[in-house]
Symmetry: C2
Subunit: 330 residues, 2 copies
Amino acid sequence: MSLLRRDPTTGRWVVFSDNASPVPVEPGPCAFCEGNEKLTPPEIVAWGRGGRKPNGPGWWVRVVPNARPLFTIEGRLERRADGMYDATSGTGAHEIVVESPEHEHSLSELSPEQVARVLRAYAQRIEDLKRDGRVRSIFIFKNQGVLAGAGRPGHAHSQVIGLPVTPKALKELLEGARTHYQLKERCVFCDILREELAIESRLIQVTDRFVSLSPYASRHPFESWILPREHAMNFESLGGADIDDLAAVLISLLRRLERVLPEPSYNLFLYSGPNHAVHPKRWPTLANDFHWHIQILPRLVHVAGFEVGSGFYANPVTPEQAAAVLRDVL
Amino acid sequence: MSLLRRDPTTGRWVVFSDNASPVPVEPGPCAFCEGNEKLTPPEIVAWGRGGRKPNGPGWWVRVVPNARPLFTIEGRLERRADGMYDATSGTGAHEIVVESPEHEHSLSELSPEQVARVLRAYAQRIEDLKRDGRVRSIFIFKNQGVLAGAGRPGHAHSQVIGLPVTPKALKELLEGARTHYQLKERCVFCDILREELAIESRLIQVTDRFVSLSPYASRHPFESWILPREHAMNFESLGGADIDDLAAVLISLLRRLERVLPEPSYNLFLYSGPNHAVHPKRWPTLANDFHWHIQILPRLVHVAGFEVGSGFYANPVTPEQAAAVLRDVL
């Protein structure tokens, strides 16, 4: 069982686990390919052809426990004082969404129908994990390429983490959104959408339901966000047609990035509302002030001391330059 | 002139500058070596033998402007609205502290006297930059090794950045310290010192004036902090004997890290109080609640999506394990 500790000076949480050390990829068959289902822990859920047997072939998208989890669903959640400090048991979830039965390397190579299935798997995992009162927030992300920290090159997959605490980066977003709402009685992300649709220079793609754009204070060259145009706190509330549109916008954005940056390393983050039912008083205006969205952060260079130590980023490419390139490249 | 932009959702600042893009190191003589003074911009200050001429040989420690600065001291500081967003001119300082006239590769190879000179240079630069009302905070750091983002391999140097805003990471520390003080009327770092000196398992070295330790929620294996035992907000208030003791503790810590991690990549961060005179009401209890310190963050692996996106770190080595190794290795 892993152990969570909180830094008392910043509120940052750290999980201590042997599984945090990277292990070399062993040669051999890919555990994520169709036909090799026995090489992963038993699946949590999968979608596929009718009549398919669990842990057998015939699936389109498959969710399995991470074989080296940072958080585990077994055991009682224990929060305790540790001298002057705070610690929590590593109770939570650490799952892998295998994005395709074939050995594709990137989400962008999949069909729109397949990407929509992956997004539906995300929504189902969030809904399911929110039923667990020990889970305070769910973080879904994807590491693509070595510079983005992808440990297992090869088969396209995402990670779902269910946490017994609200991680610092999500908390900052939630608090930033709440502060803006308290000041203006408007959602900061809705304000961003209005501003960007009016100015246009940072837009990448606009559909009826979604906007992809280069954010005003992009941390790295070609950082890109996808926001739903209609205000919604939770990703999992998306309807079927919304999901289909989002899949098309996401594939388009990844293909644009791949045209501009050959074999790009990037992280994809899905920021959606925390498990509100567990903690309703902590975020009383959440439904009004938070707006789920996707951030894609290309990783071109190693993040240096200045960024890590100050939280201040340095970027040689303005979002206006980046958006102009990404708009026209497809 | 570079441009600063603030992310409205998190308060994170980003500096946009052509100088943010890495450039390949050109072959040729080292601009930081004694005798090559003409290869850097004219020096800001240097310490050396009596009768030495500026920008000539005979120095022990030399401070020069960064040839590719992210912030520049020239020009009026302009803070302005940019539609719904906030922007600031890139007014500030970006300096290099050349740590030795010889082409040494690491601070740990220098004599205690020489490291003390480097630390005195830090203090002088902070004092000098605090006289500039445009500078809100000063961040001093060192990148050692490729994984830490060191752009220029070779000659040991640190960077001094004077900023027209308080960067997010320092702000988090200041706010965390203030929150603790408001609750307990005690400095959180003084509390940490008392706790760690009592428990002992996370201590690396203890002298009359300083403690080096593995922090409770270490982000990476062998993260290490050096704290002054006596409460002090500002690094630059250190006396001469304190500086000599700190130099010895710092060299000892770096040598311990080098024994455990061959050719380690690490970042060194000096967190000291902001330019309080510029903004006294923003941090009314600063002198009581903030405690300067040094953080050394070894960089063993690439920081992956989970850390970047969630602000949650995963670490396979507990600080108790790390401190036991570092204590006994010298």
